[in-house]
Amino acid sequence: MPRSAPITAWCLGLALIAFAPAALSDDLPEYRLKAAFLYNFALFTEWPADVGSTLNLCVYGKDPFGEELDGLQGKAVGDRRLAIHRITSIEALSACQVVFIAGSSGDGISRVLSSLRGATVLIVADVPGAAKQGVALNMSVVNNKITFEANLAAARAANVNLSSKLLSLATEVLQ
């Protein structure tokens, strides 16, 4: 028994070293990754010249991102900077260039789409079927990975151009 004690201690130590960092750092929450996608959506969207130097990114509804979204505050998107807003009133959405419809039912989406008709705005959601309803980019979780579908017609109607790269990565592009 005394001979095996050092080996036992060595193995336990190895296991601790191996597992402890994993337990501490194995952390990729859904909405951290979705926040990164939101940033990329803004990055791969071409905005009209009359959009100013600030891109207002607005979350409408109950914010699922939490502090992850605050990490996007002030980030550069080409020559512009992101400004983050949490919005609870549909009327206030008219000042936004990117709108994420959070936690909404299909009913909520249709009201937002109706209020933003003709506005220069990239509308994003993560609600099943939202792209078919007219949301430009709609995220889903498939096998623990984020995928997204694009509605090209909706983006064009909202005066924004989605890059060919973004469209090539979408699981489905609605024309």
Binding site: R3, A15, L28, R32, L33, A36, S105
Partner: protein
């Protein structure tokens, strides 16, 4: 069975367990990113990442219900 043989077998098991623990830990550590790290990754790589926790969809349901009631 001698005491020496038992010790050797248990040592082997422990060594195997330690090596297995190390191997299992490697992919986990590779799946951890801060938001700033994620923003530096190409979107193609973001598509390959696996999330480790999902937001309860109940939040969405509750918000939608509250919002409908308010209107």
């Amino acid at each position: 069975m001698s005491a020496q043989a038992v010790t050797t077998r248990s040592q082997r098991k422990l060594l195997l367990a330690g090596a297995l623990a190390l191997l299992l830990a490697i992919p986990d550590t590779a799946n951890s990113f801060t938001l700033n790290e994620l923003l530096d990754l190409p979107i193609e790589q973001l598509l390959r990442l696996e999330i480790t926790s999902r937001q309860p969809s109940q939040l969405a349901v509750l918000w939608a219900a509250e919002h409908r009631d308010a209107t």
